[in-house]
């Protein structure tokens, strides 16, 4: 039969169903009448003849059903019948329907929410043209494998590489823009002309930088983000081609970026998503120092070139470069090419995958719960199934009907899940998950909807299969003979097994949750080497026009320090070039060695360099271990001095006091970025401060007085006793008094930065806590339901026990032990599973081992206690059975 006629038959069958039914009825009736005619002709009385004819014919419903199966569109028709029948059943038991739909809604909804995040972050390509061909190229500096490139390095790589179509670079800093509104401090991106076209199709307005506009002598031009254009220029399209002041200089606005444009650079690049103004390097990159790395490189591969090929080629080029210039050799230059997308999600991936696994576990627990509910119903429904079978339905047909009902339940649960998932997603996004907030538009899109639909169908089959098969089995006569009330629970072992599995799955999840909670509490206890409480911070950047020299920058900073110190409640004021735990400014690190060290020792050790005002250690609450802090005379004119941390001291002069020793470092006493190498005298040792993360120690640190290394942007730190908002007003006022065109940014407590450093763990811990709680709740309901049900089934048995002399307490203990056993087994299996699985979490853990005995013990106690409590209520009810009533009921 062709597809067309099949379809026609199907539609005909659907719409003319009753006609076809009547037809069939009439035909079968005619057959019986014909037969009866024959029989009565042979002498039987008419009534007897008709009776005989009917008996000879056999069970009409069975044959009718077989006939229906031969008709086109049969499956669609039965599906519709089954769906209507299932809906009717659900309406008749609203309690069951509500519990099942809510349980499923929670289970599937949690998956919907987490999947939308996983999909947006891990699966969807970055919002850039040809995103799959974009790579980040890391430069190795000493033992830092993810470092920035120097100017000549980018130009050489671009010149020699055949793998990349384009290689662009960016360096970010702070700047002050003066549009039509108040002066505003912005993140400033210095880019090669080809960088922006790698990351956006086209600008919203105007144009990108043209090739060659990133060289010495090129015009001063800038490109703005949509947000800044609206804020500073009132969204005026006429601005294209006009000039505006940036850092005191005149720049022509040549373009505005699309509203959704964002920089999505990996963690550790110090390139933040919210760079608002882009300008080009106005000098020739190839003429910059080979030993000053600052550029983050993005490359676009030629079509058909793999990351691997680009990697091998780049490494070959790195080898050539090391042979050609001593700076590259000293740097021990290597190049690593990695997919931009992969690197972007690197830090979020383990957390998201763990959470995705956790919601999977929650869903399995939900399924086990519903399967248990259905099994309880199956006890009652086996009578119905037996009756249908007796009337001629085959087993396949009964199983199909039950499966359809379960699919219906699954889909209703899926609908509830969309609502729950939507709410959960809003809640998740409100937490601003780190590493995720950068990625645009996490939402319930078509893929997520399809995922939810598939999951609903899958769960409908999963939780429905066992009960359906079990209902379709069973001896017809046995079931029909029983009075319908006393039918024993379908396969009690199956129900126990479901309890064991849901308790063990819940246990795994709870152990994971416990480990995350322990991790977060370790994080809260970390001593980062400073005391962030009551420290307010803000950033300023110095417009080049007014603050070109080291002296002018230092004068302003010292004056602001003095003025702020005089404000009420201020204990101490200082400034630092890179605030601990702030990743928003390009880091500054380089080689150091004890003066006079042999050449082979010279380029081995690296330290983070920090330029500070006097009083920095006191203000931050750092611990000065030896020597002294900087004072007012530690400047370029006097002896050049430094303070080192204990890590550096131990590496450079193991077993000796570093005080008075000479240390070779890079600084820039004559102005920003004019680096020289010189020897400074160590005057103090401070305890190491965690600068990049709370969980890893990071590089050693060397501190120099601000006049030895002025920077175009700096961060003030103030220890104050007044509320933050009050202090913020003082800051605005004092800065404006000194320079009305100076903008401040990121005025916030240092504790904010600490919170950000804890954010990922906090996020995972909260979600794991919610999921663990949900699993515990579901398992609890499951245990309670099964125990209640078995008690109800055993009323008669319990009554008899009581009559023959069992005490109430005995009955209670019996029920408790029998119901508690699967819980105990579940906990045991769960602990074993958890022990096998938790090592996978080790990337997320801190300060706690994956096999942490305290967590394992606590979870078994909690789960055991909750399990016993869930058994206890029905057990007490069992003991209260009134034997007379129970026995009379039968």
């Amino acid at each position: 039969m062709s597809l067309y006629s099949n379809l026609q038959a199907m539609l005909a069958a659907l719409f003319r169903r009753s006609h076809a039914e009547n037809d069939m009825d009439e035909e079968l009736r005619a057959h019986i009448q014909n037969r009866a005619d024959d029989l009565s002709r042979s002498g039987l009385p008419r009534a007897e003849a008709e009776r005989r004819a009917r008996i000879e014919f056999g069970a009409p419903e069975k044959f009718k059903e077989e006939c229906r199966e031969q008709r086109g569109g049969f499956w669609l028709e039965t599906l519709w019948t089954d769906v209507r029948f299932g809906a009717r059943l659900l309406r008749k038991s609203p309690g069951f329907a509500a519990i099942a739909i809510v349980t499923l809604g929670l289970g599937i909804g949690a998956n919907t929410a987490i999947f939308s995040v996983v999909h947006a972050v891990l699966l969807r390509p970055l919002p850039y043209p040809n995103a799959n061909r974009l790579a980040i190229i890391w430069s190795q500096w000493g033992n830092e494998t993810r470092g920035p490139a120097s100017g000549p390095e980018l130009i050489e790589l671009r010149r020699r590489s055949r793998s990349f179509e384009e290689i662009g670079g960016i360096w970010t800093s702070l700047g002050t823009i003066m549009g039509t509104a108040e002066p505003e401090q912005v993140r400033l991106g210095f880019v090669t002309a080809n960088l922006l076209p790698l990351l956006a199709e086209k600008p919203e307005l105007g144009r990108f930088f043209a090739a060659g506009e990133d060289r010495r002598g090129a015009p001063a031009q800038m490109i703005l983000t949509d947000g800044l254009w609206r804020r500073q220029f009132g969204a005026n399209p006429e601005i294209i081609g006009k000039t505006a002041r940036l850092n005191g200089g005149e720049f022509t606005v040549i373009g505005v970026l699309p509203p959704d444009f964002r920089l999505l650079f990996p963690d550790g690049t110090n390139v933040m998503a919210d760079v608002q103004v882009y300008i080009t390097f106005l000098d020739d990159l190839e003429k910059r120092d080979r030993d000053t790395g600052f550029l983050r490189m993005i490359g676009r591969l030629h079509r058909g070139v793999t990351m691997q090929q680009a990697q091998s080629e780049s490494e070959m080029i790195a080898t050539q470069l090391r042979g050609e210039a001593k700076e590259y050799a000293e740097q021990s230059l290597h190049l690593t090419v990695a997919s931009l997308q992969g690197e972007d999600v690197r830090s979020a991936q383990p957390a998201l995958i763990s959470l995705f696994a956790a919601v999977g576990l929650v869903l399995l627990v939900s399924c086990a719960n519903i399967a248990n509910l259905l099994l309880a119903r199956a006890g009652n429904r086996s009578h119905e199934a037996a009756l249908r079978a007796a009337m001629g339905a085959h087993k396949g047909r009964i199983v199909r009907q039950l499966l359809t009902e379960n699919l219906l339940l699954g889909l209703l649960g899926g609908m509830a899940a969309l609502g729950i998932g939507w709410a959960a997603l809003k809640w998740i996004l409100a937490m601003q998950p780190p590493g995720i907030y950068r990625l645009i538009a996490v939402r319930l899109d078509a893929t997520v909807l399809a995922f939810t639909l598939l999951l609903s169908i899958f769960t409908g089959i999963l939780f429905g299969l066992a009960p359906a098969l079990s209902a379709a089995r069973g001896d017809l006569l046995e079931i029909l003979k029983e009075s319908g009330k006393t039918i024993t629970a379908a396969r009690p072992w199956l129900r126990q097994l479901l309890i064991v599995s849901e308790v063990s799955l819940g246990c795994v999840l709870l152990v994971g949750t416990g480990l995350m909670i322990r991790t977060f509490s370790s994080l809260l206890r970390v001593n980062p080497g400073f005391r962030p409480e009551n420290v307010a911070t803000f950033q300023i950047s110095f417009p080049w026009s007014h603050y070109g020299s080291a002296v002018s920058i230092n004068n302003f900073m010292r004056q602001l320090q003095t003025n702020l110190s005089a404000t009420p409640g201020t204990a101490s004021v200082s400034a630092v070039s890179h605030l601990p735990l702030d990743e928003g400014l390009g880091n500054w690190y380089s080689y150091y060695w004890p003066e006079g060290a042999p050449v082979q020792q010279q380029n081995t050790l690296m330290a983070d360099h920090r330029a500070v005002l006097p009083g920095y250690f006191r203000t931050m609450g750092a611990t000065l271990l030896e020597g002294r802090d900087f004072n007012d005379t530690d400047d370029a004119e006097h002896t050049h001095v430094a303070v080192v941390d204990d890590l550096l001291a131990a590496d450079a002069w193991p077993g000796q006091s570093p005080l008075g020793k000479k240390l070779s470092i890079e600084d820039s006493p004559s102005g920003p970025f004019q680096f020289i190498r010189e020897a400074v005298v160590v005057v103090g040792v401070v305890k190491h401060i965690q600068t990049h993360s709370l969980t890893s120690q990071g590089r050693a640190q060397v501190y120099v007085p601000e006049p030895l290394a002025p920077r175009p942007a700096t961060t003030f730190v103030v220890r104050t006793t007044v509320p933050f908002e009050t202090f913020a007003a003082y800051v605005r006022q004092e800065v404006r008094k000194l320079d009305k065109d100076m903008a401040i940014a990121n005025l916030r407590p240092e504790e904010d930065y600490v919170d950000i450093a804890r954010a990922q763990t906090r996020f995972v811990t909260i979600l794991a806590g919610a999921l663990g709680g949900l699993a515990l709740f579901l398992a609890c309901i499951g245990i309670y339901g099964v125990t209640s049900y078995s008690v109800a089934q055993r009323h008669r048995e319990i009554a008899i026990r009581l009559v023959v002399g069992a005490k109430f307490a005995d009955v209670r203990t019996m029920v408790l032990v029998q119901s508690g056993l699967p819980v105990a087994i579940g906990v045991f299996v769960g602990l074993l599973l958890a022990a096998a699985l938790t090592p996978l979490l080790s990337g997320l853990l801190f300060g706690v081992r994956p096999s942490d005995p305290i967590t394992f013990a606590a979870i078994s106690v909690i789960l055991g206690a909750v399990g016993i409590a869930a058994c206890y209520i029905p057990a007490r009810r069992a003991a209260k059975v009134d034997p007379i009533i129970a026995l009379r009921c039968e």
């Binding site: 039969m1 009439e26 057959h31 014909n34 037969r35 069970a59 044959f63 077989e66 006939c67 008709r71």
Partner: protein, 113 residues
Amino acid sequence: VAGQAQILPGTLDLLILKAVSLGPLHGYGVLLRIEQISHGALLVEQGALYPALFRLVRKGLLKANWGTSENNRRAKFYELTSAGKKRLREESEDWNRLAAAIASALKTRPEEV
């Protein structure tokens, strides 16, 4: 009745096609016709006839029309379509070949081996 045999699985369709090929029949008529042409040797379960008839109609081998039976009852009459005729021819040949092969196999005596 002595000497009656249950029909082999799969042969019901062939018997129905044959019965109908001798002239249009209603369901009960098919039953009687099979009894008649097998000289009462083959027994068809009455109800089981109808799913088979529906199946043959669905496969396009039979077509059905309402008419009036010999004793003035409304009845559905089945007749062969051209596809049905072709199928009957093919299946008869197949069956005869098979029957001959089995018969010859069963006739084998020890000295012929």
